[in-house]
């Protein structure tokens, strides 16, 4: 751990993190650890109460479910999204996933950890939504895994890195409707043989981490496979929730 600290402070010298706002790229006061300036922070679409009691998206009245959750019965216990998927956040996620700007996982996971504190959840493991190895090679890294590992470190809860495996390389979800998405994801996930034999998640509560929540099909399928393998409960945290149109 001490060695890690030394390495981190060495990196801090080579890569100072307190210089520019990650959104507007201007220098400013009080920007730390790839932070954001006051002006940009004000413009971010934080999800404020009232939010859907199930998935955490914005709704009109507290205690009400969103139309999406009313139609379908999500298997997870409760979900939390920090932002609405639009504006600056949309750009940030895009730069993060496709522009190779991995450092953005730092502010993102910070927001997520902070959001987590507003809920009274307790869980035993942090589990990222997996990426198929082929997709991983294409992108170079798993965006959810990076977020999950940071959340795990910040929250002090162990990370179950390969808690779920993606065994089918499915096409991108973005162009599909809800029904197609579910079909698309059929038999896409599995749990490691080792974990099944050891019963790693038997009776445990898990926190599932993903970057964007749209219809909830991905996290739903992941939850299914976790519950099938004996998990007691699954919470879901995502950076942003998009409205499916």
């Amino acid at each position: 751990m001490a060695l890690f600290k030394v390495w981190e402070s060495f990196l801090d010298i080579i890569y100072p993190m307190d210089i520019r706002c990650i959104l507007c790229n201007e220098t400013g006061e009080g920007i730390t650890n790839y932070g954001i300036c006051k002006a940009c922070l004000g413009d971010l679409p934080f999800i404020q109460p009232p939010y859907c009691g199930k998935c955490g998206k914005t709704v009109t009245r507290q205690g009400e479910l969103c139309p999406d959750c009313r139609d379908s019965n999500h298997p997870y216990k409760e979900g939390l999204a920090i932002f609405e998927y639009r504006d600056g956040i949309r750009d940030l996620i895009h730069r993060y996933k496709y522009g190779g700007e991995k450092y953005l996982s730092m502010p993102m996971s910070r927001w997520m950890t902070k959001g987590l504190k507003t809920r009274n959840w307790s869980f035993d493991f942090v589990v990222p939504v997996p990426l198929h190895p082929a997709r991983l090679r294409e992108r170079g890294f798993n965006q959810s895994q990076l977020l999950a590992s940071r959340i795990s470190r910040d929250a002090g809860v162990p990370l179950l890195d390969k808690g779920i495996l993606r065994i089918k390389n499915t096409p991108h979800q973005t162009k599909l409707n809800r029904q197609e998405r579910l079909q698309n994801l059929k038999d896409a996930f599995a749990v490691r043989e080792k974990d099944r034999a050891l019963g790693t998640i038997q009776g445990k509560t898990l926190l599932l981490v993903d970057d964007v929540y749209t219809t909830g099909s991905t996290v739903g399928k992941c939850t299914d496979i976790l519950l099938e393998n004996g998990a007691a409960d699954v919470y879901v945290i995502t950076l942003a929730a998009g409205t499916y149109v």
Binding site: L11, I13, I14, Y15, P16, M17, D18, I19, R20, E26, T27, E29, Y34, G100, E101, K102, Y103, S105, M106, R137, E138, G140, F141, L146
Partner: protein, 790 residues
């Protein structure tokens, strides 16, 4: 320190740089260093005991001391071989790299392993810059390559140091490359050349270079291949000098120095490649890093390459580990790393230009691109990059090269995209050659066209009369103030500077005032006997700032490629603030007096030209005269009895050639030297006698017609034995005699002449011993400065 420091590396690098400056400028001894270190350790210990922390100021002092120590250690001159200077020696060693090639000579650096002197053999390890001169009777091509073992016999010398005020110091330039001796070798004295190899990995790198150069030569050939070698391998020396000059004029010489532009293209290629290969980020970084390092080693670690490589590695490394590179921070990191290994690189022009351009782009490209918002995005981007790089470099370019190129904006805009194509395809070409040899000739043909187009476009752009202007060097105060303002007016200024515009205004105003006031106190009568090697050149400045140049040195055409006027006289004038000459005098029509005046009249504003026209004009003279007439310079013919008044209180009395044609014909003796203008330049009771190249006969005639003693005599004809007769010296009995001679085969100055002058009580100054000699006359006092004080 109330606030946390955001970029500690900048502070550390600054402290270290200040240390380097202190180490060289004040020549701190080691004793001071150890005293400082002891104090520091003591202080650090106390501080740690008290606050449990090593405070920043202590850290900064530590780095300042480290800088001072490092630069001090690096500037100790090597004197191992000083005993052998001027002696014929045989050295055997390995050729490290080639540095130059022309019609008549070839130069390279030898790492000498053994040395032979009078049958005695010594082992050593010393870098020696060797130049092989081919003579005309025995001209044959010897191919010398890096890695070869070579044995040569020649005369060992120290590199020439600074010769003129603000002139180029070749000795320091070589010393920064760990070379302290030069060896001149006639071609027939090459004892042996054997092919050799470097130890791994250098052998491999040399092999790769050779492979690339070979591909260019075989499939492209000609000047385009040479240009590509310069642009991708850094072999600039092989380029014809006229092309190099054209690049300097158009302000795109930076394309020839491998730097950010080239490394940038390489990084883009690598990112694309590792992405296509689907490499994981860690692996991708390793591949990118290794390729960058190999390339850096391949093209030789110039400061600009190392700077770009360090910044590129930090950039791609950030992508791999999930961090974001901050370019300003990376820039200072690169500077710090370079200066740890080579602290004296701070004085390298390439270092300063590279960091000036980078700082400009980092600090100002956004400001400019905001200004160009209405243009299409990529054009606005390139324009902003160019403008900001210019902002960071123009004072340095003016200072070192005395050039300001208005055309550079257009030239960069047109040429950089072509250069991009050339660099990327140039780097890929050798790979293509090895995979698909069939395509090589087609690609080679295409590259040849691109390169030719590039050379042609550059030549065209350099051809306008307004393409570049000769400018005087800004002084150091100007540079300092400029770069302070440059820094604090940018968005990256330290936050404790609250009112940048206000501070900048005050600084600029102070500078302006000092630039106006300083010349008022600089009001002496100044005479500089410029060191132009073998030849005459005298610069005179009157107290009221009139500028006179008498002769400009030079060589007859075909006697070596070195252009004294362009390389010595013009830089001397421009670096010392002279852009306009009130009067240029040609003493007579010989090349060692007038060839150097051609670039002066071409590039500077000259009001009047004074001469006595030669009776047998040379081609060089005709060129000079034609040029003067074309440029509308007022041409005056001087003859005995004329007096010119220059400014308020300086007079030129012409005492020869006499106007009596018959008398002159008698004195002429079929020798142009005897038509030299002899002038007595008067300022108060100071007489300055300039005699050109007059010989015995004229001197004897003048001895009977002149009867005033002089303060300073320019000894006739470089101290030749055919001049300076006893009676003439006796008549003028100079207090100081100056001999303008350099390395020559005529035996100038003649020992008898020196004796005669000393007998008359003259103190002798010689350009070959002292470099330039400067006289400052003020209120009856005279101060004499020499550039060389050995």
């Amino acid at each position: 320190m109330g606030e946390r420091i955001k970029r500690p590396i900048i502070w550390v690098a600054f402290a270290y740089i200040i240390g380097i400056l202190a180490g060289v400028l004040f020549r701190w001894g080691l004793a001071y260093f150890y005293m400082g270190l002891a104090l520091l350790v003591l202080g650090a210990g106390l501080a740690y005991m008290k606050w449990r922390t090593l405070s920043l100021p202590l850290l900064l002092i530590l780095f300042t001391l480290a800088g001072a120590f490092n630069s001090y250690m690096n500037s100790i001159p090597d004197t191992v071989l000083d005993d052998l200077l001027g002696q014929k020696i045989i050295i055997r060693g390995q050729v490290l790299e080639l540095t130059g090639q022309s019609e008549s000579k070839q130069s390279f650096i030898i790492e000498a392993h053994s040395l032979e002197h009078y049958q005695k053999k010594y082992n050593l390890k010393n870098r020696i810059k060797t130049t092989v001169y081919s003579n005309f009777d025995n001209k044959q091509d010897i191919m010398i390559k890096a890695g070869d073992w070579i044995e040569v016999e020649g005369e060992l010398e120290k590199p020439q140091g600074q010769r003129n005020p603000k002139g180029f110091d070749y000795r320091s330039y070589l010393a920064r490359r760990k070379i302290h001796y030069v060896l001149g070798v006639p071609q027939r004295k090459i004892v042996s050349v054997e092919p050799g190899k470097f130890p791994w990995p250098r052998s491999w790198i040399v092999h790769m270079r050779g492979f690339m150069a070979d591909a260019y030569d075989r499939y492209i050939g000609g000047t385009p291949a040479t240009l590509l070698k310069a642009m991708t391998l850094g072999e600039r020396w092989a380029l014809p000098s006229e092309i190099k000059d054209q690049f300097a004029i158009t302000g795109v010489a930076h394309i020839l120095a491998i730097s950010g532009l080239h490394i940038g293209f390489l990084v883009l290629m690598l990112l694309w490649l590792t992405n296509k290969l689907r490499l994981k980020s860690g692996m991708a970084f390793i591949v990118q890093g290794i390729v960058l390092l190999i390339y850096c080693a391949m093209v030789g670690g110039n400061p600009s390459v190392v700077r770009a490589t360090v910044m590129a590695i930090v950039l791609v490394g950030g992508r791999a580990i999930g961090r974001k590179a901050d370019s300003l921070n990376s820039m200072f990191l690169a500077a710090f790393i370079i200066l740890i290994f080579k602290p004296l690189d701070l004085w390298e022009v390439g270092f300063q230009l590279s960091f000036g351009a980078t700082a400009g782009i980092i600090l100002y490209s956004k400001t400019f691109s905001d200004k160009f918002k209405r243009l299409p995005r990529n054009i606005a981007g390139s324009l902003a990059t160019m403008a900001s790089a210019q902002l960071g470099t123009w004072p340095l370019i003016a200072y070192y090269f005395n050039i300001f190129s208005p055309v550079s904006f257009a030239a960069n805009l047109i040429l950089i995209p072509i250069a991009g194509i050339m660099v990327t395809s140039g780097l890929l070409f050798p790979i293509l050659v090895s995979i698909l040899p069939i395509l090589a000739s087609v690609m080679g043909w295409w590259l040849w066209w691109i390169c030719s187009l590039f050379i042609w476009a550059n030549k065209w752009l350099s051809g306008f009369s307004w393409s570049s202007l000769s400018v005087v060097s800004p002084n150091l105060l100007f540079l300092t103030v400029y770069y302070i303002i440059f820094f604090i007016m940018s968005g990256q200024r330290p936050r404790w500077i609250k009112k940048p515009a206000c501070i900048s205004g005050i600084l600029a105003f102070t500078l302006l005032v000092s630039l106006i006031i300083a010349p008022i106190f600089d009001n002496n009568f100044k005479v500089v006997f410029v060191d132009v090697g073998q030849g005459d050149c005298i610069y005179i400045r009157t107290p009221d700032k009139k500028h006179i140049l008498v002769d400009g040195g030079g060589k007859p055409p075909g006697m070596g490629e070195f252009d004294v006027g362009k390389e010595v006289v013009l830089p001397f004038l421009l670096k010392n603030g002279v852009r306009r000459l009130d009067l240029v005098v040609m003493s007579h029509g010989h090349e060692d007096h007038m060839m150097g005046l051609i670039p002066v009249i071409k590039d500077l504003k000259v009001d009047a030209f004074l001469e006595f026209p030669p009776w047998e004009p040379t081609d060089g003279y005709k060129e000079l005269k034609g040029l003067a007439q074309r440029k509308g310079v007022k041409c005056l013919i001087g003859k005995g009895g004329d007096t010119y008044r220059i400014g308020r209180d300086v007079f030129i009395d012409i005492i020869y050639p006499v106007s009596d044609k018959n008398l002159l014909e008698g004195l002429y003796e079929n020798n142009e030297n005897n038509l030299s203008l002899v002038m007595n330049i008067r300022y108060g009771d100071i007489n300055l006698m300039l005699t050109g190249d007059i010989e015995k006969g004229v001197e004897s005639y003048l001895s009977e017609h002149w009867n005033e003693e002089v303060s300073v005599l320019k000894v006739a004809h470089h101290g030749s034995k055919t001049s300076s007769i006893k009676e003439w010296i006796k008549v003028i009995s100079p207090k100081v005699a100056v001999i303008q001679s350099g390395k020559n085969n005529f035996g100038h100055p003649n020992p008898d002449v020196l004796e005669r002058l000393e007998e008359q009580g003259a103190k002798i100054f010689r350009n070959d011993n002292s470099g330039a000699i400067t006289f400052h006359f003020k209120e009856g006092r005279c101060r004499i400065d020499t550039v060389v004080n050995e």
